[in-house]
Symmetry: C2
Subunit: 407 residues, 2 copies
Amino acid sequence: MAKIAILGFGTVGSGVLEVLRTNADKAARRAGQPVEVKYICDIRDFSSHPDAALFVKTLDPILNDPEVTAVVETIGGTKVAYPYVKAVLESGRHVATSNKELVATHGAELLALAREKGVCFLFEASVGGGTPVITPMYQCLAANNLSEVRGIVNGTTNFMLTKMEREGMDFEGALKLAQSLGYAETIDPSADVDGIDAQRKICILASILFGRHFYPQNVAARGIRDVSVKDIALARRQNAAVKLIAWAKQTEDGPALAVEPMLVPRESQLAGVDDVFNAVMVRGDILGDVMFYGKGAGKLPTASAVTADVLDALRNGGSIHESLFWTDSEPMEGVYEDASPADRYVRAEGGAAAVRAVFGDVEILDEADGEIAFALRGKSVAQTRALCEEAARQDVRVKNVLKWLTL
Amino acid sequence: MAKIAILGFGTVGSGVLEVLRTNADKAARRAGQPVEVKYICDIRDFSSHPDAALFVKTLDPILNDPEVTAVVETIGGTKVAYPYVKAVLESGRHVATSNKELVATHGAELLALAREKGVCFLFEASVGGGTPVITPMYQCLAANNLSEVRGIVNGTTNFMLTKMEREGMDFEGALKLAQSLGYAETIDPSADVDGIDAQRKICILASILFGRHFYPQNVAARGIRDVSVKDIALARRQNAAVKLIAWAKQTEDGPALAVEPMLVPRESQLAGVDDVFNAVMVRGDILGDVMFYGKGAGKLPTASAVTADVLDALRNGGSIHESLFWTDSEPMEGVYEDASPADRYVRAEGGAAAVRAVFGDVEILDEADGEIAFALRGKSVAQTRALCEEAARQDVRVKNVLKWLTL
């Protein structure tokens, strides 16, 4: 019998308890022994909960109980979660977490600590919710050198973009709907709509890809606030969908990564990923592209992934970090940009003549109501930026620029 | 340093050697030690091969060398592969294989033997080529009870159907093209086009799903020979694609599984899986649907998956078969059918009046050139069969029946 503790009894934490009880047989089979939740740590009052006897308010009773061999962390944030997880790993116990902020901020340090102590620090649930992404990346693609990862990793914004595309809703309408369904935070939805959540997730994927830690502050992240129904309709006419893409790739000048809304051609599997679904595509030198697709969030899917991790830890022990590992690195100044030329869609106020005077002989995609949309091909980020600045001086007001995703 | 042997130096076997040498660093990291191919067993003459010194013609030198701890089997078929793999497992060595026929025929026995000997018998490459399917199924979805699996698991027929849809090729033309590109066998392409390959793969997936062995002879398999360009065009007008689907699910009457061409609605991710790509969708009680997508075959993708398995075996040892396991069972009479009602598309020779006299007040989808296509809804397999037999007696010649895939 393995005994574990759950830290943080919110949505995901309570889901883990539910999953372990509902599918106790499956869990025991995978862990090689029955698994029992012995403690739940939460500062809130759960004295009238049916499992009131399991609740503790601090980490100490857990650390002092030698029967507990693994801990699930679902507190979120880093203020409490970081010192708690560190203390658990230092005590020689496994940790499974769904906390992307923790992994994106302190992943390298916690992995090194886990490796030193011969225990597991696992975080499959931090990217893709319940969809397996991280485990297949380091395990099933182990014979590959990975060169690129790209994905739709935020279900809330993907839901909003789907509503904007299918029902012609504007950003505000789609946001209100997402909030009313509980997909977006009501008070401050910026973690989703400004790409902060996706920024953390791409840091985790990039750290696996490149074998060293990438910090959120070094990743340019644009959300979907400036994506309009017009952009989506124009993209559609170009046989593309607008998706919030988190990407990381090896370029000639080194690693590059970002989060940005992009035009995804229909031929890409990512274009058909709708609603709250997530999908991550990984490119290996031997295997080519593989994609992992599933529901990106939700109580039980996320709990399913954390639970699978804790079962894996109980079964395998710590040797996993020979392959799931990245080295520490210092945050740098600025962001990791891709300097190579790319094709972009530009929407601006102004006529074709004014646009061509600045951007050259570009292909006009649409012109209506004083606005023009055109394709700007083969320009780098810096060139595009310079052209947009020049445009502002020439009274051509650029309203949106979206990069085309290459296949 | 781990030493391994490769049995069968065909496409996949030579790919494994290439992968292990090209990505030696990655392989060593995952296995926890460098990995060297010490023997290659093949009855053919490789005396002028650069690695001629590694070749042996029988299994004995490998079994007699205590340095060899794992073996890759890529011979194919069962005649030689079965006794060889059995002998290797009995000697206490790990086996990784890409041989779907071997697993579909003797999987339960070989898994039990591996478990008894405390070694691994792994076969990720037997389904989906290089795409991770089996490992995520038993590992990442470990907290889920799986209820259903459905997928496009044969790249050759998917390539042919894509050509038929996009370029209006007929079956014969698409087959010739697939043969000229090396996707289909030139002498006897029936393993692909008659669904035999997919039948073996769904047996493997169903065995994992239900925890007991399913034999190919108990699985109804239809290939794509009777799919015409007309069916594909009519499906398109119904907003669906024709795909060869291998499926297994828990029904009220027990397990059901089959391989058949189906109408896949565009809303399904499977509808967008084109060319030689494979995709497998798994439904878990907690997680919902997840899909694994990638190139289904080819020398290096398949080699990549076998290699990942052998590295996994070298790192993990045999405890893996606590969770990757199914019990043996006897083949039964007949096939596992799904008796529940379903919607079907029917194409027949005859007029609307004659069709309605037999099938009732069905929805006519198309009528042209003496042929009629209609939707037959909510009928079981047995009811459909009886209706088609009655139709034959009434001079309504049914030319094709395709089930709609439910989402």
